[in-house]
């Protein structure tokens, strides 16, 4: 039961996009279509899961005072390795997700979860947290992407194709989610 709670935490209660408001750069940048949002989300989920596990394994070795630089080095190295491996050996995946991977290096969700969760919990729980947060991020980005695609490319309202449209959609969705979550 507790494990499930960790997994589902990221989807609504602590949704990284709408509630924690982390990782705004890719959220606003790549959500021009549902597929792009989905691709960015899946790539982030994969990295989040593994970086959480890695940080959780290293948490006793990393001294508290230098944990932030240590996390950044570990995560950035890990993402770069994944990027190189994909480019070299899975060209098809690199074609569709390659553009998003360098964006993950600087994604604050990854660092945020390392700091808030993985540095205090076990490997398995951290993995679940990574998957949950990744799913929440994927769902949010796909939703924003779908709305922008529908209004922008579908109905030809140009502003939704451009960056301001991303702010509008994000703002309205955030308000909606706050409204739903607020105790009546």
């Amino acid at each position: 039961m507790k494990k499930l709670k960790i997994l589902f935490n990221g989807i609504l209660k602590e949704n990284p996009t709408f509630v924690l408001v982390l990782g705004m750069c890719p959220t606003l940048g790549v959500t021009t279509s549902a597929f792009n949002g989905f691709g960015m989300g899946i790539a982030t989920m994969f990295v989040l899961m593994l970086s959480n596990m890695l940080i959780s394994l290293l948490k006793n070795f990393i001294p508290d005072k230098v944990r932030i630089p240590a996390f950044i080095v570990v995560i950035a190295t890990f993402v770069s390795i994944v990027d190189l491996l994909i480019q070299g050996f899975v060209p098809a995946l690199s074609e569709s997700l390659g553009l998003f991977i360098p964006l993950i290096v600087v994604n604050c969700i990854v660092l945020g979860r390392a700091e808030a969760f993985a540095s205090k919990n076990g490997v398995f729980d951290s993995m679940l947290d990574g998957i949950g947060m990744g799913l929440g991020f994927t769902l949010s980005l796909t939703l924003i992407g779908a709305i922008r695609q529908l209004l922008g490319s579908g109905c030809d309202i140009l502003v939704f194709v451009l960056a301001p449209g991303a702010f509008f959609v994000l703002g309205f969705l955030m308000a909606l989610i706050r409204h739903i979550q607020q105790p009546k």
């Binding site: 001294p63 005072k65 190189l84 050996f89």
Partner: protein, 191 residues
Amino acid sequence: MLLALTVIAVVAAAALAAVYVVTKPAIEQQQQDKIQKAMMDVLPNFKGTTEAVKVFANKDDKSEVTVNLAKNADGSIFGAAVETYTDQAFSGSFNIMVGFDADGTVIGTSVISAAETPGLGDNIKSPEFSGQFAKKQMNPKNSNFELKVTKDGGEVDAITAATISSRAFCDAVNRAAKAYDTVLKQKGAAK
């Protein structure tokens, strides 16, 4: 504390270096395959051999353009697949392949590598945009072959909200045409 951070940095650097060395040949191979595939895309009916010639298309260009002259079995020129670039892209630069026939008419274009904004500038890969360039002819007597987007008085329809990427694409095609023209003139002089 200092030790832990040093150890992490050293291990990270070593791991990155190792992975870089291991993946480098594979990544270069992928790049080579991409260029091969782009050449087939832009010269679909060509079966002969190609000869790569590197030239500077414009006097103040920073890098060379590779003109892959396509020759028929009897040595006559079928056309060329020109590996060209632009440095006016939204994300700095991108590389495309442009195929020409012997008279300098564009056969087709193919994007080799570009990192334009997904959903906007990235649409340079879409056939609706890049297909516009097929059958555009460069005039061999007049080297002022220049394609422009409609906004600048040309005949290329720019991608909505991605005028910079569209202009950059025109720039790359123009560079290819100039390079092909230069190579043809060199070859003509040699004969």
